[in-house]
């Protein structure tokens, strides 16, 4: 699939829920079966639309959790005043129907040709599109070096915990737990800041080479709440990254 441009579908397609997996107390992954699904790129999202019996509709965007080539799945965090997320995380079950549109996105995407080294920065549910990128990298057998910095409130809030505990070769996962840490925790225990970025980020000059445009240097993807993304992006610029080597995606409401 590397290098293939996947055309976003303008039309809404019917999706049937397959399996539902609990990732954490508030987060679930739903696999969706879409008859004419044309595939997607790592980092893209789908728009999901629900219709009530009286015709009322609500629509939200959710990042695709699966890698290109894997069955389509989305990971959803339940937001307390949400209208759609409580339904998707507490009510939806195998066989239920909804509509999806997509895949959507041409900016916050990673293909093998983009190279690396990759610096992935996730705040809360911002991990979802980055996990798609990691799975894509594995499926390709890519050797692009990756560092993932993942900020969560506590260990129990870490999504895809067991998967991230066994990262592929060349992938380093660094957690920071901002509110609560398990006994014996020796990792970061605070919100991301300049110092943490300078300790974790690939250096701009003289770091490992990872394919992609020659001399381009590391490529960073930051996804999560606005405050997380803005802190991270400013810190990377201060650390020497060019803004065009930092891609950002802001999610609402996922607290830190």
């Amino acid at each position: 699939m590397a290098g293939t441009a996947v055309r976003g579908r303008l039309t809404w397609q019917t999706a049937t829920v397959g399996s539902v997996v609990s990732e954490t107390a508030r987060v679930r992954t739903l696999s969706l079966s879409v008859p004419d699904w044309a595939g997607h790129r790592a980092g893209q999202h789908v728009d999901v639309r629900l219709t009530a019996e009286d015709g009322y509709q609500a629509e939200r965007a959710y990042s695709i959790a699966s890698a290109p080539g894997e069955p389509l799945s989305i990971t959803v965090e339940r937001l307390d005043d949400g209208e759609v997320s409580p339904y998707l995380t507490e009510e939806a079950r195998a066989g239920d129907q909804m509509e999806v549109r997509g895949p959507i996105g041409g900016y916050f995407v990673w293909d093998a040709l983009d190279g690396g080294p990759l610096l992935l920065l996730a705040g809360g549910s911002g991990i979802v599109p980055l996990r798609s990128m990691l799975r894509h990298r594995s499926r390709l057998g890519s050797t692009v070096p990756v560092r993932l910095l993942y900020s969560s409130r506590s260990w129990a809030d870490v999504i895809y915990r067991s998967e991230l505990d066994q990262p592929a070769d060349g992938v380093t996962v660094i957690h920071t737990l901002t509110r609560q840490q398990p006994p014996g925790w020796t990792g970061y225990a605070r919100r991301v800041d300049q110092r943490m970025i300078s300790e974790v980020a690939w250096p701009v000059g003289g770091g490992p080479v990872g394919g992609g445009p020659v001399g381009a240097g590391p490529l960073a993807y930051a996804c999560g709440p606005t405050s997380f993304v803005e802190t991270v992006a400013s810190a990377l610029v201060a650390f020497g990254y060019q803004t065009r080597r930092i891609r950002t995606e802001r999610f609402g409401a996922s607290g830190q």
Partner: protein, 86 residues
Amino acid sequence: MEPLENGVLDGNGIGGLLLEVFGTEMTAAVSICAGCGATSQVAELAVYQPGLGTVVRCRHCDTVLMVFVRARGVTCVDLWGLTSLA
């Protein structure tokens, strides 16, 4: 649609709306602000969705670049805050 949950805060989240309006993927397109001249990819623009419509602003000077309002199945599009979008 509440902005809190929808969480659409930048141009990434309105990719579907832009696909519908422009007929093509637009989040990587480069915009030039008519207010301050700042260049930005659409994905990086500030997006507000107060339920009445979608308002896209320059992150540097807050100038309104694009407004989309859907009424009775028709989407009204205003791009006059942009010098260019390519």
